[in-house]
Subunit: 219 residues, 2 copies
DNA sequence: CCGGGCAGTAACCCACCGGTTACTCAGGCC
DNA sequence: GGCCTGAGTAACCGGTGGGTTACTGCCCGG
């Protein structure tokens, strides 16, 4: 074996365990509600190692954020390519993103904590600016759709992207207050499913070109 | 004078000062990043008073949340009634809400902290479930619009409300990560203004009935 | 086979945490 | 005018916070 199987000295493993514990705890409770002692307790690693590998609690949070952010790149967009038109492709892409947020609460929540901290940990040159496959596919598909006459020529792709992200995030970001105010549990699978279908409906009716809208209206 | 102007003993004033300081600090930094000492320091009040008036740090947070939540009720919706059609009224209402979020960051942020804490402080019987004028006007106007044939008969009012709130919130909740990823400062007034106009566009095209859509398309 | 750098440990630092004690005193009521 | 309740104060509590010190010993290059 290239790497020894059982070890008392294993830098990679220790680093990974710290990162994993940090992601879990910080995403659930936020940076300030979690102590370094709790992180190392969960990771079963000596406290000193946090400072050895990361330097500070803040830097550990930053590393955790960068780590979950990479998960976007792992979304499998192969279903998207099966769409036979820009409209179908966009629908698949949006479904993938909605699903992603739902299945990766560590990403969703960590990103929200970070935004509430005004992006303190992402202002530096970390990976968030690097090419995001979702953004790139989104832009390309919408442009194709406009070229094909399916979408309005005057759609603002950037704001449309923001809006779509907003339509997905709201089910998580304001889940508890909305659930209480509307007396409808947004955590239920069927509520989320209906939410997604209504989002798609709104978006597609909202950006359809007059010509394709007439077709949809007739159907 | 009914109330003496300078005082060493003034329950209302002390309570209000604590609440005000709590709202300011908790909305900016979150519950766990703010100490009771910081709150009483800003309020210039003795620490013991927090426990005298509220009982605990958590209860103080809860009171702060309830306080800002009441601000929704203070939104002036008079502009809404000037709309000459459901469509125009809805546009005014949406504008008011978007403005409200923008001008009341203490509300917006406190609500987000609370949702990340899974609604711990709003599960109890506080005012959040009580009638919310925005929700009520929204529902009524959409129903009028459907009856008047301006909006599709099959719009889901509840999800539409969620979606609209999501479209507004995203400009605040993910402001920093989106600004960095898109290389576009979402804090700028003109970006927000364009965002709002695009939101309205998306929503109205998205819920227009085929008949009224044809009219809009022709315009 | 041995020397040095790096992974890992235990114990410690002290400022500050949320919360409490024990107290003073202001002022409305009879 | 005395008294009782509640507003207000200062000092204090044990525990825990992020971060550090001083150390051990593994393992790889020579």
């Amino acid at each position: 074996m290239s790497t020894p199987p059982k070890i008392s000295r294993n830098p990679d493993r220790t680093r990974r365990k710290l990162l994993q514990a940090a992601i879990r705890l910080f995403s659930r409770h936020g940076l300030h509600a979690v102590s370094v002692d709790q992180v190392v307790g969960l990771a079963r690693v000596n406290k000193r190692m946090v400072y050895h590998y990361f330097g500070s609690k803040d830097a550990l949070f930053e590393a955790a954020l960068a780590e979950v952010y990479k998960r976007i790149e792992a979304i499998e967009f192969h279903a998207v390519e099966r769409g036979r038109s820009p409209r179908e492709k966009l629908a698949r892409l949006l479904e993938s993103y909605f699903e992603f947020l739902d299945q990766e609460p560590e990403f969703t929540r960590l990103l929200q904590w970070e935004n509430l901290e005004k992006g303190r940990h992402l202002t530096k040159e970390n990976h968030l600016l690097s090419k995001n496959p979702f953004f790139e596919r989104f832009r390309a598909i919408v442009q194709d759709g406009v070229a094909a006459g399916e979408f309005r020529a005057d759609v603002d792709v950037t704001h449309l992207m923001i809006h779509f992200i907003g339509l997905c995030f709201i089910y998580h970001s304001n889940r508890f207050s909305l659930s209480q105010s509307l007396d409808l549990d947004l955590g239920q699978a069927k509520v989320k499913a209906r939410g997604l279908s209504q989002v798609l409906r709104l978006v597609f009716e909202g950006i359809a070109s007059p010509a394709s809208a007439a077709k949809l209206g007739a159907a």
